[in-house]
Every structure is written in structure tokens, then in C-alpha cells.
């Protein structure tokens, strides 16, 4: 397994939060090399590597970077923004990367900044990630001390507890000091992003992969994984498995491999009921899909997404209506309120789901729920509305009998025995996290 590690490579037996240890495994050597190469040459390696964005949307990183205007094409400065606002329920890979290989992220920032001609990098880090923030800050100080920054400034900015700020344009608004709400696109950030200037936004994992790509070459990277899904990914495995955690695996590994081989399977005699393959916002898979490879293309074939790489295993004790309610509550709570379908629709979905769970729903309301999902889907300003509608619609679609049973029986068939234990936290835990203060 360690052989397949790229992003987390070397972190198993060394404390790579220390710059010296990171240098011992070859850290920052690639930065020097990259700076010796022309920006276009670096960009070409990224294009050859054909790495798709690790944040969730899966847009090819090299292509996105090449949309950034070349020096002289745009009078404004160019910015690199790293999205470290990891908030998708079930996803905890970026925090692992920041905790264990912060210097790889910083090196990735500096190489990418060089490739796009940027002197200003912003890392927007989720507000609740206090430890991660401190580790990155310490690593940045070490990098400063080692004189690695060149003419680049890296600003570490903490979010204030809004899932929506992980959406790239809302992140930019928030970074500018505005209310964290998404912008309409176009213009895309590559043309008019932060402060209306060309901005490249990438996920932590994507940026942390850059040093390896430049070190070994894009072709080497593209050799791993499958044709549609190059390289490795850090999968966050959670839910009802024995050994949940982050596993960096070559893309193309099957769900079975991840869950049973790496994760040790389900505890006791429980059986898989459903698998969420890419974070709470993607349509669900069933036990029959266990041999699906973890690739963008295979997931698309199954009508779902690899998303943020968060695999959540749901066992047979789980009531799908309750799961739907928990997911819908999250999105209702996190809807920013800017566009109508998401703001109003998520709330309505919660109301209907609660009614179904309570056994008060009428037959027509099951179809109404699907219709509400359909009326949100594809009509919102940003993907949050879709992220709420897609999973709920898939739960009804694939577990309709269970929803029907709630209506027929006038209540939850699990009669209070259902368990959502370890399947992402209920929304009130999101609400009442204590305010964390940064020590001076």
C-alpha cells in the first residue's frame, strides 16, 4: 500500500511536519528544479499528468491552470487559492494531508504559483481546523526561515464555519471579506476571481500532488490509475467499517478492496446496505455495487460521483429515511440563502422527510419529495442545491420500499432500533461546536 502513496509518501515513518525530515525524503528539491524550468514546462507536466481536481468536481487541474492568462495578457495580478475548507460530511482527507505533510502542500503551492506566474497564494482553511492551521502556520514559518518563499507570499486565512465557503466563488467572496455566497459564473475565477483578477483555485490534495508530478514527470503520474482517473487518491473511509481512516490508493481500486481489504470489513455480522462513494452529496450505491472501481468513469456509469473521495459504509441497521433526514438537515443548515430553489427547497425537503419518518405522510408526499428534488436539481446558482437533491432522490429511488413502509406502517419500521452511529454527525453537532481561539 505504501508503494502507491504519492501525497502521503514518507509520512508513515517520519514526522514530515518538520522541514528537515521533509528534506530528507527529497522535499523542496523539486521546487528548485521547477523554478529552473520555465512556467510553461511545469504546466506541461501537469497537463501530461492529466490529474483531475481532488475537491469533488474532478475538473482537470492542468487545463484549469492553463486558462490563467499568461503574463502581460491581463493587467491584474494572478492569484493562487488553495481550498482547505474541507467540510463535506464524511470527508477528512485534507486534514490528514495538512497534519502529516504540510510541507508538501507548501511546496505544491510554490511550484504551482511559479507555473501560473503568481506571487500571492491564499490558503483558505476551514475554521474548525485549528490544529491543522497551527501546523501549516508552523510549516510556513520553517519554509520562510529556510528562504524558500522567493517572491511569493502565502496567506493563511481561516474560515468562520460555513460549508458554502468550500464552493470556490463563495470562498473568494469570503476571502474578500464579503458574505460567503457563491457568484454566478461566468466569469470563471481563472479570468475574474479574487479581487476580479485571474485566480486558480485548487483543493489541498491536488496541490499536494504537484511536487510528485514535477519530480517524476507527468507521464510517470499518468501511468498510474486508469485512463480516465490517473494517479492516486486519499480516500476517507468511514461509517460502519472496522478500520475507518484515510487510505491513499491507486485509482481503480474497487470498493470491495477499500472496504474489506483495507478497512477490514464491517464489524460483527452486519451487512452492507448502502455505500456513499464520494461524500454526502453524491447518489448512493447499494451492496450490489461493491465491485465498482473507484474511478471517475466507473462512478459515472453507476449514476454517481467519486466526489471528495469520502466512502461511507452504511449497514443494515440504518433507516434510509433517517439518513435522508440527516443529510437534508445538513444542507438546509448550510444553504447560504442566495438562490431560491436551494434556500426554500432544502427546508421543504426536511419538512417532508420528517413527516415521512414520523409516519404522518400521505402517499402523494413521497412523489412530492421526488418532485421537489427534481425542481431543485440543475436550477440553482451553485452545486449546493444539487448536492442536497441528488442523494435524497437516490435514497428514494433505490430504497423506495423502505420509504413506502414508513407510509404504510404509519411510522418507522425500525421502531427506534435504527442506528446512524458513525455515519456522519447530525447537524446539531455542526451548530454547537465551541468557538476556537488562536493562541496569540
Amino acid at each position: 500500500m505504501a508503494a502507491s502513496e504519492i501525497v502521503l509518501a514518507g509520512a508513515a515513518d517520519r514526522d514530515l511536519t518538520q522541514i528537515d525530515a521533509y528534506r530528507e525524503v527529497g522535499g523542496y528539491a523539486t521546487l528548485d528544479r521547477a523554478r529552473g524550468m520555465g512556467p510553461q514546462a511545469v504546466l506541461d507536466e501537469l497537463l501530461t499528468a492529466d490529474i483531475k481536481g481532488r475537491g469533488g468536481a474532478g475538473f482537470p487541474m492542468g487545463r484549469k491552470a492553463s486558462f490563467i492568462p499568461k503574463p502581460g495578457q491581463n493587467p491584474n495580478p494572478t492569484y493562487l487559492t488553495v481550498n482547505a475548507d474541507e467540510s463535506e460530511p464524511g470527508t477528512f482527507k485534507d486534514r490528514e494531508i495538512m497534519l502529516r505533510v504540510p510541507h508538501r502542500l507548501i511546496e505544491g503551492c510554490l511550484i504551482t504559483a511559479h507555473a501560473i506566474g503568481s506571487r500571492n497564494v491564499f490558503i483558505y482553511i476551514r475554521g474548525e481546523y485549528l490544529r491543522e492551521f497551527e501546523i501549516i502556520r508552523a510549516a510556513l514559518e520553517q519554509a520562510h526561515g529556510a528562504g524558500l518563499m522567493g517572491d511569493v507570499t502565502i496567506v493563511l486565512h481561516r474560515g468562520a464555519g460555513a460549508y458554502i465557503c468550500g464552493e470556490e466563488t463563495a470562498l473568494l467572496e469570503s476571502l474578500e471579506g464579503e458574505r460567503g455566497q457563491p457568484r454566478t459564473k461566468p466569469p470563471f475565477p481563472a479570468i475574474a476571481g479574487l479581487y476580479a483578477s485571474p485566480t486558480l483555485i485548487n483543493n489541498v490534495e491536488t496541490i499536494a500532488t504537484v511536487p510528485a508530478i514535477v519530480e517524476h514527470g507527468g507521464a510517470w503520474y499518468a501511468d498510474q490509475g486508469t485512463e480516465g482517473s490517473r494517479g492516486t487518491r486519499v480516500f476517507s473511509l468511514s461509517g460502519n467499517v472496522r478500520r475507518g481512516g484515510n487510505y491513499e490508493l491507486e485509482l481503480g481500486t474497487t470498493l470491495r478492496d477499500l472496504i474489506y481489504h483495507h478497512g477490514g470489513g464491517l464489524p460483527g455480522s452486519r451487512r452492507i446496505k448502502a455505500i456513499i462513494p464520494g461524500g454526502s452529496s453524491v447518489p448512493v450505491l447499494t451492496a450490489d455495487d461493491i465491485d465498482t472501481p473507484l474511478t471517475f468513469e466507473a462512478m459515472a456509469d453507476k449514476g454517481t460521483f467519486l466526489g471528495s473521495g469520502a466512502v461511507i459504509v452504511i449497514d443494515d441497521r440504518c433507516c434510509m429515511v433517517q439518513l435522508g433526514l440527516r443529510v437534508a438537515q445538513f444542507y438546509m443548515h448550510e444553504s447560504c440563502g442566495k438562490c431560491t430553489p436551494c434556500r426554500e427547497g432544502t427546508r421543504w425537503m426536511v419538512q417532508i422527510l420528517r413527516k415521512i419518518e414520523d409516519g404522518r405522510a400521505e402517499q402523494a408526499e413521497l412523489d412530492l419529495l421526488l418532485d421537489v428534488c427534481d425542481r431543485i436539481l440543475g436550477k440553482c446558482l451553485c452545486p449546493l442545491g444539487d448536492a442536497a437533491a441528488m442523494p435524497i432522490a437516490s435514497y428514494v429511488d433505490k430504497f423506495r420500499a423502505e420509504f413506502q413502509a414508513h407510509i404504510d406502517a404509519g411510522g418507522c419500521p425500525y421502531k427506534g432500533e435504527s442506528s446512524l452511529e458513525r455515519v456522519f454527525a447530525p447537524v446539531d453537532q455542526h451548530t454547537h461546536h465551541p468557538t476556537v481561539e488562536v493562541p496569540a
Binding site: 460555513a162 458554502i164 458574505r179 457568484r183 454566478t184 438546509m332 443548515h333 448550510e334 444553504s335 447560504c336 440563502g337 442566495k338 438562490c339 431560491t340 430553489p341 434556500r343 426554500e344 427547497g345 432544502t346 427546508r347 421543504w348 419538512q351 412530492l368 425542481r375 431543485i376 440543475g378 436550477k379 440553482c380 446558482l381
Partner: protein
């Protein structure tokens, strides 16, 4: 000529300049793309409400039409030809109506509500929502003039975008997130800003309503009269809503060159002065020492005739500058041709020289460099001009204000000197003004010889040959120029200033409130006042003839651009209007004055406005071409500014926007009036140990006032600003101390 593109909307081929908004493109072809949040005057489209969803060929998802522009080959389908788009729009309306109360029958907006209208056209006929609706406390008075109903709010963010991005007052904000989002004022303070009322008109539902208009009328029982506001020299175009002859509200009426559809709160809310409790509705005669007795019109005209005849021509007339041109002309014709009374206290003059640099106010938006000269904030003299300046600044223009509280600080009263310096060869700013093709000068101060100073500067900077560069003078009165024109048109004769004054004729409440006119009245044997409000004339006028308001008059007025605009009578005045009795009075002196404004205008337009007709003015008057007038020579003896010696401070009194006899009579506007405070520079406050909010004693030789201190960090040290109504008896230099 911009590049034309051809696109298809609902199977119809449309050709428009590239980049035209899709909503406008469709509208031009007679196709509706319905919107709520879209309002181009608020800045770039935000795509929030999702009402405008359309299907675009080649795109899998519905697109927000408002965020798109016309591109070659685009194939667009609206709800009319696309089931998908129709379903999307229907969905948006269903979502918007989920928690919207069904109180249309008692909602002020009902009958003129975009949500209602679009629901009829695109929405579901029934609801599938069976849960209790979201409720909020309501209505919330966000200010004495505006009530907020959060349940009706559809969160289109028009109001907050106006506050943040147009008026830049940053007071109205969204709070919370998602379905719990609500509109509120910052820190829940009252929304106190000069343009707050515009949010009522921007609101596409009944969430923001006018406290004056609440439950006053329904749209099917009102009449809307297009007229022009003459509360200030901008002359914003307005629509006056009346019900059963009474004015119920005033709305903006977009004149794209003058006001862009914005209106200040004074223009919007001050109309209730028409129903002031001390409104003069009958002629009055002074009895005993303080008090009036009503007299009949016959008595009043007899008395006026007797007084005027007995004056032997020793008559002085004081005009307000708020009269219509026709009214001023009628008065002038009577007094000048009938009685040989040529002596007048005219409102602040406007020099014709400014006409050589004439531009519409909308040209400010396109300028690259704007220099405002003078001590008065633009918003206080001509409020909507301030919005044009903000728009220009947001668009990248550089706005330099030079004055005692400007971005460049100069001593009070040195605007003319500033002009001289800008014209001089040593001025870098002057050089840039000279080189720019789109530069604008604005005089925002008293004095300046009616714009002659700024015109002289514009001439020296070579603006005459640059159609994109121009100059504006912000006068003190709404129609001073028109009134002066009318006075001049009545006679070419001149007469000496009479001494002693037998009769002082005071026209209008503004003149009657002017301390200089009051001083003149002390010296007059008899004072005849034509005013709306009894208290204004109480104690010093001998004979009071009832005045009317601009909302009750037909006629014309000329705004600060030199644009002649037409006023329409919206409400029937409670008394005969000025022209009707002037006509009768004039007849007694053998002078022919028509009782109707139209023939009066025809008569004077022949002499002063080149035979222009009322028909040519229309509902949205055009601006006359630039005049070819040689620029005047600058006034050589500009008064040097008085430097402060540190102990004594120079008092800069100012006339606030929310002031005057009309505003004083509107209860809802009292919160907008200036507090009894003195503005101090940071330096001066520091030196005296004064902080904002402290009570301080402002003293000058023999007079004093106790006022609250307010720090103004933009103010030049050595200067204090006090609203004139609070500075009344103070002299030009004052001491400020903590008691």
C-alpha cells in the same frame, strides 16, 4: 458602432449589439424573461432568484437568463416555447410562494406586485405546501418611513444591493443563512440615509412598504400623475400617486439623463406638508401684535390693491426660487409693468456662461476625472448628483473633492481661489483636467457668481471644444434660474432700490424663512407674504396670501443642468392658486396675466426660450444644446480665506438636505433632520479634549449655543460645521469649549 450579433429567442431571430443583456434583448423582441432580483441599476446581475431560467441550446442545464448577454448564434427558449424552462420558472415560483403569506388582499403591493403578476403568468395555481409557514415578527419599522415585513420577503437582495452598491450607505444587510436569512439594518439602528426610500420601490413584493402609504390606497383606485420634483435643483422626474385628490405617495419616474430612477427621501416623503395643520387656506390679515384674522378673497384683493397703489412704486419683491416660471412671470409682470416695481431680491443667480459647458447629469457616469469644488457635500445641495458621482467612482472614475471637508482640504470659502489654482500652469490636477477628454467640474458651494467661476475655469481648461467634458453649478434653489428668467422677461426697465421700502412682497416660504428677507421686512412699512404655512408669516407679515406647493401646480421649472421641465398638478390645492388671483389683481392695474399657466408660458417662452412649446418638453424633457458663449473672465478679486489661529475656529454653516418649512412639517422625516451638533476636526477635538457625543459650548462674540460634538475626520482643522438651523445667531468665528 458596436458589433451586431444575431441570436434566436423562441424561434425569432433578433439582432442586437453584442453584449446586450439577454433580458433586454428578449424584451426588445417583445418576449418576456421574467425577473425578480435582476435590476441593472444595482450593478452586475447576481442570478439569485432563478426566476429568469431559460433553456439554451447546447447547454444541459437551464441558465439564468439575467446573467447572460447576447452572443452570435445563441438559441434561447423561454417558458413560451420550452417546457423545461416553463417547469423551471414554475418551480421557482412554487418555492418563493412556499412561505409567502397569502395576505395579498391587505398588502399594499397587491395589484402592482411583480410576484403576484408573475405567479399569474408562470406560477402554479395551487400550493402543495401543507406545513406551517415560516413566521417572523412584523412589521418591523426599519425607520420611521419604512416598514419591513420579513414574511413577505423573497430575498432577492435588491434592497441590500442598493444600500451597499448604489447609495453606499451600507446600512441594510442580510443576516443569518439559508431559509432563516432576513433583511435587517446594521446593528438594528434605524435606516437613516438620504436615499433609503428607493428600497421601497425596488422591492418586488410587499416586504418593504412606506409607512405613509400603508393601507392608504389600492392600485385600482389611484391616479398617477407624471411631474417633476422641485424640492432641490436636480429636478428628479416623479410620479405622484393620488387618491380622491389627495397625494398618497411619490415614486421616481426614471429620466435616464437626470435621475436614473432614483429619488431622495426628501423628494419622496415630504409631500405630507400639503396637509400641514398650519396650512394657509384663506387670506389672512395681521391683527393686534401677534395673530391673524381670516379675510375674504375680495377683501384680500382690495387690501393688496390699496397697499400696492399707496406704495408709489417703493416696492421690493423677494422671490424664493421655488416658484414655477409662470407664477414668477405673473408676479413680475404685475409688479414691474403695472407698478414699476423693479427692485427684487432674486434667488441665487445662474450665469449663462455655464451653458457653454452643459452636459446631462448622466455624463458624470462616463467621466474619468471629476473635480468637485466647494465646501458643501454634493448630497446636501443636489442629492441625486451624489449618486451619479458614486456610480462614476465605482466605474473607475477618479473623484476629487476640494473643500473644507474634501479629499483635498482647503480653507472654507476658497472655492474660487481653487479654481484659479487649477487654471494655473503649476497645477498637476489642472493639467490632467486639461488633457482629459471626459472631465467634469462641479461647483458645490455658495457664491461662485452663479457658476461663472466654474465656467471660467472650464473655459480656461479648454472644455468648450470637448463634448465629453463639462461643468455643473449646484445652485441653492430649485428653480432660481427659471424665476430669474421670468423676472427678466417681464420688463427691460430698471429702477432704483427704494428707500424707505413701502411694501415688501415676499413670494414663497423659503424667502419668508430667509433671515436676510426678514431683516428687509423690518425696514418695510407693509409686508405682503405669499406662503403656505401660517407660522412662517406669523408676527411679521401684514397680509398673507395663500401659497401652493409644486405638487399643486402646472407649469415649468429649470433644473441645474439648464433643462426646462414640466410640472403637472397632481393635487387640487385647498385654495385658488397664485396665477388665478394674480390674474385678477393684475387686471386691476390694467395688466394682462392669464390665469392659466400654458398661455403664460407661451407668452414668455417667445421672449426667453426661443418659442419653445410645452408639447416639445414632453414627459421627459430633453436638454438643450450647448450654448456658444465665450467663457467669462475669472473674477480677479476672490476673497482670501480666513485662516484659523487655533483658538478661534471658522464656522462653516451648512444647509442640510432635510431642512426647510416643508420638511419641518412631515413627522416621518424628523429623524432625518440634523441633530443639534457641531462637527469638529480630529485635531481640534483632540486639542480640546473633546470626543464624539460630548456636550460642548460654542461661543461667538455675544452669542452661544450648547451642541453635541461630532468628530469629522475629513474636516480641515480650524473649521467647525454646524447646520444653519442650529447656528442661527453664531458669528463667523467661534470658540468651542467643554462646559
Amino acid at each position: 458602432m458596436p458589433e451586431l450579433v444575431t441570436l434566436t429567442i423562441d424561434d425569432r431571430e433578433v439582432q442586437v449589439p453584442k453584449g446586450t443583456g439577454l433580458v433586454e434583448t428578449a424584451m426588445g423582441a417583445g418576449i418576456e424573461i421574467p425577473v425578480f432580483c435582476y435590476e441593472p441599476r444595482l450593478g452586475p446581475a447576481v442570478g439569485a432568484c432563478r426566476m429568469c431560467l431559460v433553456e439554451i441550446e447546447g447547454m444541459p442545464k437551464l441558465q439564468a437568463g439575467c446573467t447572460m448577454t447576447a452572443q452570435d448564434g445563441l438559441v434561447v427558449r423561454t417558458a413560451a416555447t420550452s417546457d423545461k424552462a416553463a417547469q423551471g420558472q414554475n418551480a421557482t415560483l412554487e418555492f418563493l410562494l412556499l412561505n409567502h403569506p397569502l395576505d395579498c388582499p391587505v398588502c399594499d403591493k397587491g395589484g402592482e406586485c411583480p410576484l403576484q403578476d408573475l405567479t399569474f403568468r408562470y406560477g402554479p395555481g395551487t400550493t402543495r405546501m401543507v406545513f406551517p409557514k415560516r413566521t417572523f415578527d412584523k412589521p418591523i419599522p426599519i425607520s420611521p418611513t419604512i416598514a419591513l415585513d420579513r414574511e413577505r420577503c423573497i430575498l432577492c437582495y435588491r434592497c441590500t444591493r442598493f444600500s451597499e452598491g448604489v447609495a453606499e450607505d451600507h446600512q441594510l444587510v442580510p443576516r443569518n443563512r439559508g431559509a432563516q436569512t432576513l433583511i435587517t439594518t446594521f446593528e438594528e439602528e434605524p435606516y437613516r440615509a438620504p436615499f433609503s426610500g428607493n428600497v421601497i420601490e425596488l422591492c418586488p413584493v410587499g416586504a418593504l412598504t412606506s409607512t405613509q402609504y400603508r393601507f392608504e390606497a389600492r392600485p385600482w383606485e389611484i391616479q398617477n400623475v407624471p411631474t417633476v420634483c422641485t424640492m432641490c435643483p436636480v429636478g428628479c422626474n416623479v410620479t405622484v400617486t393620488t387618491r380622491e385628490g389627495k397625494v398618497k405617495r411619490i415614486l421616481s419616474r426614471n429620466h435616464p439623463e437626470v435621475d436614473q430612477g432614483w429619488l431622495c427621501d426628501k423628494g419622496r416623503f415630504a409631500f405630507s406638508h400639503l396637509r400641514a395643520e398650519d396650512r394657509v387656506t384663506q387670506p389672512l390679515r395681521r391683527v393686534r401684535r401677534r395673530g391673524f384674522a381670516t379675510i375674504s378673497w375680495e377683501e384680500a384683493l382690495d387690501e393688496t390693491e390699496r397697499v400696492l397703489r399707496g406704495a408709489g412704486g417703493r416696492i421690493v419683491t423677494a422671490l424664493s426660487g421655488s416658484e414655477t416660471i409662470e407664477h414668477a412671470y405673473g408676479l413680475a409682470k404685475l409688479l414691474r409693468t403695472g407698478l414699476g416695481a423693479h427692485s427684487a431680491v432674486l434667488p441665487e443667480e445662474t450665469d449663462v456662461a455655464i451653458d457653454a459647458f452643459r452636459l446631462p447629469l448622466s455624463a458624470i457616469r462616463g467621466a474619468e476625472l471629476i473635480v468637485v469644488v466647494g465646501d458643501d457635500p454634493v448630497a446636501e445641495r443636489a442629492p441625486v448628483v451624489d449618486l451619479w458621482l458614486k456610480l462614476a467612482r465605482r466605474g473607475g472614475a477618479e473623484v476629487v473633492t476640494i473643500g473644507a471637508a474634501g479629499s483635498v482640504l482647503t480653507a472654507p470659502g476658497s472655492a474660487a481661489q481653487t479654481c484659479r489654482e487649477l487654471a494655473g500652469s503649476g497645477s498637476e490636477l489642472g493639467r490632467r483636467l486639461r488633457e482629459s477628454e471626459r472631465a467634469i467640474l462641479i461647483w458645490s458651494s455658495p457664491g461662485g457668481h452663479g457658476g461663472a467661476e466654474i465656467a471660467a475655469l472650464a473655459g480656461e481648461l479648454g472644455f468648450a471644444g470637448k463634448p465629453g467634458s463639462g461643468a455643473f453649478h449646484l445652485p441653492a434653489t430649485p428653480n432660481g434660474r427659471g424665476v430669474a428668467d421670468a423676472w427678466a422677461a417681464a420688463s427691460d426697465d430698471e429702477g432704483p432700490n427704494p428707500e424707505p421700502i413701502a411694501v415688501l412682497v415676499v413670494s414663497g416660504d423659503e424667502a419668508a424663512s430667509d433671515p436676510h428677507v426678514r431683516a428687509l421686512a423690518e425696514r418695510a412699512e407693509t409686508v405682503i407674504a405669499i406662503v403656505m404655512f401660517e407660522r412662517v408669516a406669523l408676527g411679521w407679515a401684514d397680509l398673507v396670501l395663500p401659497g401652493t406647493s409644486y405638487l399643486e401646480r402646472d407649469g415649468t421649472a429649470m433644473n441645474l443642468e439648464g433643462r426646462l421641465q414640466r410640472l403637472r398638478r397632481a393635487a387640487i390645492p385647498p385654495v385658488a392658486d397664485e396665477l388665478s388671483w394674480l390674474s385678477q389683481l393684475a387686471a386691476r392695474f390694467g395688466v394682462d396675466v392669464s390665469p392659466y399657466p400654458a398661455p403664460v408660458f407661451e407668452e414668455l417662452a417667445g421672449t426667453v426660450y426661443g418659442g419653445l412649446t410645452l408639447g416639445e418638453l414632453g414627459e421627459r424633457a430633453a436638454l438643450a444644446e450647448r450654448a456658444q458663449i465665450p467663457a467669462p473672465a475669472p473674477d480677479p478679486d476672490t476673497e482670501p480665506a480666513r485662516p484659523s489661529d487655533g483658538h478661534y475656529l471658522n464656522l462653516l454653516p451648512y444647509r442640510p438636505l432635510f431642512a426647510g418649512a416643508a420638511v419641518e412639517r412631515v413627522p416621518e422625516l424628523q429623524f432625518q433632520r440634523p441633530a443639534a451638533e457641531v462637527e469638529l476636526s480630529w485635531d481640534d477635538a483632540q486639542r480640546r479634549g473633546i470626543s464624539s457625543g460630548d456636550e460642548v459650548l460654542v461661543r461667538s462674540n455675544g452669542t452661544s449655543a450648547t451642541l453635541r460634538a461630532r468628530l469629522n475626520r475629513r474636516l480641515l482643522p480650524g473649521v467647525v460645521r454646524i447646520a444653519d438651523e442650529h447656528a442661527r445667531d453664531l458669528h463667523a468665528t467661534v470658540e468651542v469649549t467643554k462646559p
